[in-house]
Amino acid sequence: MDLAFHDLKLHKGRFIATVIGVGLLFTIVLAMNGLYRGNIHEGLAVIKATNPDLWVVERQRGGPFNETSTMPEFYHYSVKAIPGVEEASPFIFYTVERQVGDKSRHFSIIGYDVFGGLGGPQQINAGRNIARAHYEMVAHEKLGVKLGDQVPLGLHTYTVVGLTREAISPDGEPIVYLSLPDAQEVLFQRDNEEIRNQRERLSRSLTRSLPRQTAEKLLPSLQADTHIINAILVRLRPGANRAAVARHIESWLYFSTFTTAEETQLMLKGRLAGMTKQLLLFRTLLLIVSVVIISLVIYTFTMEKIRSIAVMKLIGAPNLTIVRLVMEQSMLLTLGAFLFGLILIHNTYHLFPKTLVLVADDDLTTFIVALFGGILASILGLWQALKTQPAMALGG
């Protein structure tokens, strides 16, 4: 006779309410799992989508994503000249907030050599890749633009020629691909007032020590250089020794080099580590809260039945019958709540503003932890049930 089932049938309203309440907690735990995976997925998406053999960055910097790295653009020619290097492409990456349509949007821009260089989008889901040197863009679908849309950035307006889904910035923002000169222009574009002011300041400085005519001649060559990049992406020739090429670049050009795997580790141990630990802590706390709530509910359920348990003992029910009653209720509550949470999160994850990556292994691990928690939660109720004296059944 399934006593637990009969008891829950009588108290089904309260049982369902508890399942929903604890289930919502499990929903948050599963959402945190998804957020944790999503955080890593987003953090590494652009690295994986770009995936060169080597990333060349400013010396002793963990750039270009984990830390800022700046270097003159022309160095990619020097890298390309190193034995074993098949292709070396300039790469620029930065984050902006601009008006797109009628909304102010936060997104990242990647500038790359659109004529056969590395670093561009690997897969276009709609439209085509950038084919002209200027004023074309490929955008991530999350930006909310359509093919053919005109997006003003800085002084110029760019046409959306392609849409992609693969690359999002480590912050989870959509990425926009531009040609390298366009990306540099958008990044370094200053307004006319600032240019006039800077020219005036330089002119004053120079005329203190030089004749006015000489100063006027020198002035154009002293303007700020905008041919700056963040990294050089390297593709090696087949059979080339990656370590040897890396050593060569580091010794001769005084840059740092990373493989894609190392770049991934830099992100995991650097920029993503804090959030990852935070999410782990939240998940642990929420699981503990869930177990405590189940424990208290089962304890209350058990205490309400304490006289019935005494009667069962008095008429000779073995301890196993009592243990089964308490444990089954705890398991049913835990399983019901977990299933509720699982179904809810798998039907709502796409509504979350941040990317949630739900992995079957995570669901299984959470289920095992929840099951163990359910068993743990029933201990308090079991302890109370087993120490109940059958004599309690006697008397008024």
């Binding site: 009588l10 108290h11 019935s308 008095l314 000779g316 029910a317 073995p318 008397g395």
Partner: protein, 228 residues
């Protein structure tokens, strides 16, 4: 045939200055079909005697032989599975019915049957037989909360009878019933004792309820006296 024999049963609670001798050298023999009443004022040790008889409380001294088996004696009687004996050979009736509130009337009767492994059609047949015997067949699917006090007590008696016990222990079974319903319950217990050949020990403090009992004992300050 003797069902229960109690020899020199003594129960002491506490020790030293706090020592309370709840039962003192109790001797009692009950045969199959006997209907025995235990009378006495509150605190006289009636319930303690029931608890010791069913070994819910361990006696301090004495010997208990139940259905030919020594279930307790000084320096002996260990290894007895008293819960098995209780579920297979004893039936309990309580003052406040003590039905399991989340089981229907028939499930309450089925529960002790399930404890001894009786299932399926045979168990169902036994439940229906008992419900008919107690004249509450139409209440079979009712939860205890929907039954009257008298109906609840009849279900409780049916539950106690489920496994054809050798001994029925009833603790104030009429205390929560009015006189008419109380007398009906006592009549039912008399019928059970005679028809089932079960020994029935009823603890009560109400002398109006013991008419027709085979033996009446009076318990005072832990001492048992034969009253008639």
């Amino acid at each position: 045939m003797e069902v229960l024999r109690i020899e020199g049963l003594t129960k002491v609670f506490g020790s030293g200055r706090l020592e309370v001798r709840a039962l003192e050298d109790i001797n009692l023999s009950v045969a199959a079909g006997d209907l025995v009443a235990l009378l006495g004022p509150s605190g006289s040790g009636k319930t303690t005697l029931l608890l010791c008889t069913s070994l819910i409380l361990d006696p301090t001294l004495g010997k208990i032989v139940f259905d030919g088996e020594t279930i307790h004696q000084q320096n002996g009687g260990e290894g007895i599975d008293i819960r098995r004996i209780r579920r297979e050979k004893m039936g309990f009736i309580f003052q406040s019915h003590n039905l399991i509130p989340f089981l229907t009337a028939q499930q309450n009767i089925l529960f002790p049957l399930s404890l001894v492994g009786k299932k399926g059609e045979a168990a169902h047949h036994r439940v229906m037989e008992l419900l008919e015997y107690m004249e509450i067949t139409e209440r079979a699917d009712y939860l205890p909360a929907l039954l009257s006090g008298g109906e609840q007590q009849r279900v409780a008696i049916a539950r106690a009878l489920a496994n054809n016990p050798r001994l029925i222990l009833a603790d104030e079974p009429t205390a929560s019933l009015d006189t008419v319903r109380g007398k009906k319950v006592m009549e039912l217990l008399k019928k059970i004792a005679k028809e089932n050949q079960s020994a029935v020990i009823v603890v009560t403090h109400d002398v109006r309820m013991i008419e027709g009992f085979d033996y009446v004992y009076y318990l005072k300050d832990g001492h048992l006296n034969h009253a008639h």
